[in-house]
Symmetry: C2
Subunit: 248 residues, 2 copies
Amino acid sequence: MLKELASAAPRDCEDCPIRHRAVCARCESDELERLDQIKYYRSFEAGQTLIWSGDKMDFVGSVVSGIATLTQTMEDGRTQMVGLLLPSDFVGRPGRDSAAYDVVAVSDIVMCCFRKKPFEDMMARTPHIAQRLLEMTLDELDAAREWMLVLGRKTAREKIASLIAIIARRDAVLNTAGMQGPLVFDLPLTREAMADYLGLTLETVSRQVSALRRDGVIMLEGKRRVTVPDFNRLLEEAGDDSDGGLLV
Amino acid sequence: MLKELASAAPRDCEDCPIRHRAVCARCESDELERLDQIKYYRSFEAGQTLIWSGDKMDFVGSVVSGIATLTQTMEDGRTQMVGLLLPSDFVGRPGRDSAAYDVVAVSDIVMCCFRKKPFEDMMARTPHIAQRLLEMTLDELDAAREWMLVLGRKTAREKIASLIAIIARRDAVLNTAGMQGPLVFDLPLTREAMADYLGLTLETVSRQVSALRRDGVIMLEGKRRVTVPDFNRLLEEAGDDSDGGLLV
DNA sequence: CGACGTGTTGATACAGTTCAAGTTGTGTGG
DNA sequence: CCACACAACTTGAACTGTATCAACACGTCG
């Protein structure tokens, strides 16, 4: 099974599942061809640390499939997740050569990588790439700021509801399911990872998930499979007004 | 006094105090000339809200002088600051037409503005602007993620120490003072604004500032003027290791 | 002067942490 | 196939850091 991971990688950019969302989204076919020449795939197993904070980063790339986390750790071990990397998300920062965060695979992962230098050269010559990267970075900045409100001002219950709402929404967008009717999906994160995302302890996460279940806001099959019968109810619990709030 | 604010605006880009740090930093003189033609200055008084979340944004711009905050507010009034805008920082997002956050002047402010449409056109034709904006956005994203660790995992005392450390560092960079020897500067924020930045109440901020003073980590002249006798001691109190930590 | 904005300090309440025990599910080796 | 180990999760009881509510201090401005 592990050996087969690499086979999940698409051969050709045109068939790539993240073709229209990743950093290459805006590229024309000739630009894509040039990218194609310098790209290479790498696979990682669940639990593996792809990148250690402080390490030299000689590549950048996009998540093709799977989920990873961006985390920061203090000397005494306190950990905060600062980003959740889903398919099409970009890893690495052009212009910086050491990693600022740990990147850890939550599930098995395939990444489409570029050595940093050639990618930077390509970017300088290809406005479509720089444009798309700017757009993606602005979206990430919005998401980070939204998360600052969650971390700074929401109660434990609201934090959990907020996280479930985000995952539900992303899942619905990915599967082009509407927001009407019950939503069903898997939580990709362990209780501990959720705690690291939300600035809580895993015990508090467990208690609040149980409380939301008791109160009928969510239903659980096993530990991970979630049903949200009424998405607006969930948003109320998250402290968001039903319309605005989290930008994709 | 209020009427005179506009006079603080430089006439010419070459004399502009933020010429080499703002979104125009990379521009050649011909590019600067074109920017010059579409720019205009606006002044705001301390306390004024420049932009309301949800409002139509028909301009973008740079802070020339003064300080502003980016804040998010929940329906019940809980408020979280998500950004601190200092001279050279950019306001607004090309490609989006309504504001995502409230922007409030902390001090009197002068901004160098561009109507959004002409700026977007200019950006499309001027890679130097797009490049610089990407770089600035990536820096802001790093700062936001650093702040997520502060909000999610640090104690009240560490939060206060972190904020003072950031302000001290920015001030030292601005005044090209070294990090050696005692640092002296003014806190630009009220206790309440600090609380909104840190996800605390203003009472807790007040108590922890007093505690840091009692313990000799900082010294106070009046409520706002701060002396940091030993910057490394402050970093320890912030929970940062003395070398790494906050970028910029 | 009094009023108001800003900040400090104290007493009490409570949300979330910490420590500890126990449960469930899954993979492994005898 | 069972026994065992281990990771992920749940639940309980006690503790504690921060919020909340309240009173008061200081400086400034009309």
